[in-house]
Amino acid sequence: MTEVVLFVIFAAVALTGAVVMVTAKNPVYSAMGLLTTMFTMALFYILLDAHFLAVVQILVYAGAVMTLFLFVIMMIGVDKKEDTAETIPFQRGLTVVVGAGLAAVVIMAGRQAWVTGSTAFGAPDLNGTIETVSDALFGTWTVAFLSTVFLLTIAAVGTVALAMFGTPQLRDTKSEEAP
């Protein structure tokens, strides 16, 4: 019963955060909404015995990704309010259709046996401690793990490159105006 109560509370918070994220006019509030959702995700992970993942979730998403978002929001300014009038033809209709389709899919999937059939988590105990996860990570999935290393390195190099060589135009106009 406790679990149900916790789930409902967390789910409510997560959904609120998500809705705030999508609807907020100001991107900072969007970021805060997403942050809330991510925290509740971490709580869900704890409920699902994935302790390591929970901490990593906070560390990576809340600690790094959202900080970066905030930083960029502050850097490029958020003064301009978004114009809500739709300019793309068919976009609104398409969104409605897609939304309806998504709802249909969710309902249909929700009626599948693997969703409704199971009564509780009765499967073998799985504790997502660092040891368990790293055993899998450095045992079976070593190559994938190393690929992520490359991915991150490439991302870092790419970011630096974008930051360094991103503004040729501005420099040119200035040097032309100078004399």
């Binding site: 560390l59 905030l70 930083f71």
Partner: protein
């Protein structure tokens, strides 16, 4: 149910302890810095001025908390709380003494022992950025914004170095639980040298330096460099909201000192003797003695070093600390590997 009561009692004690310690800490800092500058510092409130912080707190509590015009109200109000909460949460996993046994039940002197304690600590300390960033942004004023942008960049940079500095510790002790790390440091070398993690000297140095930056203390206190950006992120805060920031800063200072002790200086380890009660108390005393030694280091550095320039700060973080940490991780990895699996040709 009993667990719940124990946890609640522990939490209450932890909070009380934390706030008491912070009150003391502010006083200690003011006194020591004063001494270093040939002054006396606060002497009026209470014996030797020990209640000065309390008095200041009362004053701030009763002052009017002004809300300037152009602030984003919700975030402006939330920021001080967001500063305080992670600071307090970190302390929950710090073991302040050896486990004590009363009536057959063992009680650990820490609110909770997470098996991912180190990561938890890192995660929580990275949360501190939000308070500062949001406070600065929501103030709607340029100095706070500058201060908060500086702080966001600074904290992200030094967090990386800090996390890397802890990797050798984890490898060396083979656990990420703080209690486990302290336990692992209970051994001795040659029978008398305590096996503290301070043997991982580069890690220790990097951690301490990153710690200064994470807590926004001198010489990395660019976030609130008065000469350039007035008060930094808390320029527009007054009254009790300002007090919360202040409190969070000092709680962080204490937490970081405590964590240094836990990670590198053996936690509550030390020679224990005498009757049972003394055996309970001595570790706590050791822990606080070591922690306050680190606190003294903080204050000493603040009293001695001038503030760094911003580019120096970032350059130092990215071009010195992180490469050094990475190189040291590799060395430590080899050392740990040899210790665990023997020499490669043996």
């Amino acid at each position: 149910m009993e667990d719940f009561i124990v946890a609640a009692v522990k939490t209450v004690i932890a909070f009380a302890l934390l706030f008491t310690v912070v009150l003391l800490l502010v006083w200690i800092e003011r006194r020591i810095v004063a001494f270093m500058q040939n002054r006396l510092g606060p002497t009026r409130a209470g014996p030797l001025g020990i209640l000065q912080t309390l008095a200041d707190g009362m004053k701030l509590l009763f002052k009017e908390s002004m809300t300037p015009d152009r602030v984003e109200v919700w975030l402006y109000l939330a920021a001080p709380i967001m500063a305080l909460v992670p600071a307090v949460l970190i302390f929950l996993v710090v073991p302040i003494g050896a486990p004590i046994t009363i009536g057959g039940t063992e009680y650990t002197l820490q609110v909770t022992d997470l098996n991912v304690g180190v990561l938890y600590v890192l995660a929580m300390s990275s949360m501190a950025v939000y308070a500062i960033a949001l406070a600065g942004w929501s103030s709607g004023s340029k100095y706070p914004l500058l201060g908060s942008v500086r702080s966001a960049a600074q904290m992200i940079s030094y967090e990386a170095a800090m996390g890397l500095a802890l990797v050798p510790v984890i490898m060396f002790n083979g656990t990420t639980s703080l209690a486990g790390i302290v336990e692992a440091q209970g051994a001795t070398y040659f029978g008398f040298l305590p096996a503290w993690n301070i043997v991982l000297l580069p890690s220790f140095v990097v951690f301490v330096i990153a710690m200064f930056a994470e807590t926004n203390r001198a010489p990395f206190d660019l976030v609130e460099a008065e000469q350039e950006i007035v008060g930094g992120f808390h320029t527009e805060y007054s009254g009790f909201r300002f007090a919360l920031f202040f409190l969070a800063e000092y709680i962080n200072l204490f937490n970081m000192s405590a964590l240094t002790v836990v990670f590198f200086l053996g936690g509550w380890q030390g020679p224990v003797f005498g009757p049972t009660v003394l055996q309970w108390i001595l570790p706590v005393i050791y822990f606080f003695a070591k922690t306050f030694a680190i606190v003294f280091l903080f204050i000493w550095v603040r009293g001695t070093l001038p503030r760094m320039r911003y580019d120096q700060l970032m350059g130092f973080g990215w071009k010195r600390l992180i490469p050094v940490s990475l190189a040291w991780i590799i060395l430590a990895m080899i050392a740990v590997g040899i210790r665990r699996f023997g020499l490669p040709w043996a």
